[in-house]
């Protein structure tokens, strides 16, 4: 009896380990893909003039979109912010289409009507990023209202930065969501700067999570550079929201490892902060953990990175071949049937 018991417990343990290893590989794939696509955009295509306009990357923050979006169920709806590219990949939007979007081509999600991360696809359950910061928060409340109205068990995932929480729309949206007990998970990437503005000039409270109390909303502080921590916290938050208990906020502490955008050298950020946070790179940390836990060997990791590079090479080539939009289509689709 005892022996049987021990065997099944071992088996269960082995199975759990297997699942964690599998999850770790998924994390690594999406985080690396986001890093590589964004590097290519910011450091190559932008400098070559093949990508024009604003470029905002989430370097150093990849654990947040990846750890959270991998918790989402198919009927959940994602409302990413501008440093959450991996949400699109996890929802099945290819690197090819994302690159075509950045290059203003017809294969981009907006067919050249908008650029960079300002895209969405309701078929993939991703609401377009709204350029006006925090405007997405009331929209998330409406999405959650609709999910409940339609009798679905889905949750809206609402992403934003620390700076966005200063806007009135943020407060109106969170308040409506909490009053109505709507199924929303609010995910803040607190990367400590909003453009050039440091956190203490953005809010008088120490943490974004402190704002939750004003709305009677459970709010947790999470290590945003630890993808497993983000994943576990998001599971708790989504379970809470899915159970009909109302919204739940995660404040993922992280750091923006770049300027605000490709044209910003971030002279206003003390060098030591980049150095300090550079040691906490979420991809490096994940790889170390995978090696320590024997979920992978160095060769496996190198092979995974090489595969990602090859995928991005292909995506860039695809985007480069994708046609430009025809100016004759300029007037189309302002209204239905036009």
């Amino acid at each position: 009896m005892n022996a049987v018991h021990a065997t099944s417990a071992d088996a269960q343990h082995a199975q759990e380990e297997g699942l964690r290893a599998e999850l770790a590989h998924k994390f690594l794939y999406y985080m690396s893909l986001m890093r590589e696509v964004e590097d290519r955009i910011e450091r190559k295509l932008y400098r070559q003039g093949k990508v024009v306009g604003g470029v905002y990357v989430g370097r150093g923050q990849e654990a947040i979109p990846v750890g959270s979006a991998l918790c989402a169920e198919p009927e959940d709806v994602m409302l990413p912010s501008h440093r959450d590219m991996a949400v699109f990949f996890i929802r099945g939007v290819s690197a090819r289409r994302v690159l075509a979007q950045y290059m203003g081509r017809v294969d981009g999600l907006t067919r050249g009507r908008d650029g960079n991360m300002h895209m969405g696809d309701m078929k993939a359950g991703v609401v377009s990023i709204i350029s006006a910061l925090a405007a997405t928060v009331p929209v998330a409340a409406g999405v959650a209202l609709a999910l409940r109205y339609q009798g679905k068990n889905g949750v809206a995932f609402s992403y934003f930065g620390d700076g966005a929480t200063s806007r009135g729309d943020w407060h109106e949206g969170v308040n409506l969501a909490t009053v109505q007990k709507l199924p929303v998970v609010f995910i803040c990437n607190n990367n400590q700067y909003a453009y050039s503005t440091p956190l203490h000039m953005q809010m008088a409270c120490a943490n974004v999570a402190d704002r939750g109390a004003a709305y009677n909303m459970p709010s947790e502080i999470v290590d945003g550079n630890d993808v497993f921590a983000v994943y576990e916290a998001t599971r708790r938050a989504a379970a809470h929201a899915r159970a009909g208990l109302g919204p739940y906020m995660l404040e993922c502490k992280t750091f923006r490892m770049t300027g605000h955008s490709a044209h910003d050298a971030a002279h206003y950020v003390p060098k030591e902060m980049f150095e300090e946070w550079g040691k906490l790179d979420p991809i490096v940390r994940l790889e170390q953990r995978m090696l320590e836990e024997s979920w992978a060997k160095r060769d496996d990791l190198d092979a995974a990175q090489a595969a990602v590079k090859a995928e991005v090479d292909d995506a860039v080539a695809f985007a480069d071949r994708s046609p430009w939009p025809d100016p004759a289509t300029l007037l189309e689709n302002v209204y239905q049937n036009e």
Binding site: G120, A135, L145, D169, E172, Q336
Partner: protein, 325 residues
């Protein structure tokens, strides 16, 4: 015997659409138990419950944003602004997001935002404005301004069934002032179609909203005074604008007077004048004139408000001058 007021017509249209389509729901401030500031949704809570009559905090951005979110999910929300003036608090959601979704990422936003607008009720600068032009010049939004009970009902139904965002301006001064005999059966009024509400040969007055009634009064008075035959065109929808009907009337009468309650600069009259210039210049027998409110906030005190608002006397003066020209 006309029996249904403009307000009841909107209420009936809304009610019937909610009966017809389970995806239609209302969202706004004080609309459930209280029935809305003007009582347009009185009785809706009892019939449709809190699921479909959603009271919100005082949060116009959240009302607009939540309506958009629900619309993206396939529902057909009808959002109420307590007064059109406060739509500015939800402005960004409407002009920057809702208006651009279809064009940018092919996502329809089938929402209606109801906005009680207009002066003549001593509401003062914050409760009397005509903010339609804020939205008319935002491609992607449709803007509707019914003048009659019949059109109010037909247009609210059309707006709810429309797959684009519609801003629905209800003139507060008309709510209980005018009535129509409405058909028993279901009907809609097409968005984007103006209507010649009175045929004439000598002069066209092109207008919308409450000023349609002013124009009709002027048509009667000018006929009595001078034997003039005045045509009155009710735009009904400001965006998309029915340029064909406007130009056809201009070509027919050769003289056009443009009238609106909204202020002058950047008002609809400017766009109409340009449209007529482009589409009927060869047919004109006189200058295109306009009667509008002046470029000031709308004042409170009755003599000031009266001086501000266009009325039949002011319109008649211009109409007579143009007729004799």
């Amino acid at each position: 015997m006309p029996s249904t007021t403009y307000l009841e017509a909107i209420r009936e249209g809304l009610w019937e659409e909610m009966e017809r389509d389970p995806n239609v729901f209302c969202i706004g401030e004080d609309i459930a138990e209280y029935g809305g500031a003007f009582k347009v949704t009185a009785g809706f809570l009892e019939r449709f419950g809190t699921r479909r009559v959603v009271d919100t905090p005082i949060s116009e951005a959240a009302i607009a944003g939540a309506a958009i979110g629900a619309g993206l999910m396939g529902l057909r929300p009808v959002a109420e602004m307590q007064f059109a003036d406060f739509i500015s608090c939800g402005f960004d959601q409407l002009v920057n997001f809702a208006a651009k979704c279809r064009y940018r990422w092919n996502a329809p936003v089938p929402i209606v935002v109801r906005a009680p607008s207009g002066g003549g009720i001593h509401g003062g600068p914050f409760h009397s404005q005509n903010p339609e032009m804020w939205f008319v010049r935002t491609p992607g939004l449709k803007v509707v301004c019914p003048a009659t009970a019949y059109d109010a009902k037909g247009l609210i139904k059309a707006a709810i069934r429309d797959n684009d965002p519609v801003i629905f301006f209800e003139h507060k001064g008309l709510y209980r002032r005018i009535k129509d005999e409405l058909p028993e059966e279901d009907y809609t009024v097409p968005i984007g179609k103006a209507k010649v509400v009175r045929e004439g040969r000598d002069l066209s007055i092109v207008t919308y909203g409450a000023m349609v009634w002013t124009a009709l009064e002027v048509a009667d008075r000018l006929a009595a005074e001078e034997g003039a035959s005045v045509e009155v065109v009710d735009l009904r929808t400001l965006m998309p604008l029915d340029r064909d009907t406007v130009c056809a009337s201009a070509r027919k009468t050769g003289k056009v007077l443009l009238v609106h309650e909204d202020t002058r600069t950047g008002g609809m009259a400017g766009e109409l004048a340009a449209t007529i210039n482009e589409g009927a210049f060869e047919y004109l027998d006189g200058p295109i004139l306009r009667v509008t409110a002046p470029d000031t906030p709308i004042p409170f005190s009755p003599p000031l408000e009266e001086a501000f608002l266009p009325n039949a006397d002011k319109v008649l003066d211009k109409a007579r001058w143009l007729y004799r020209y």
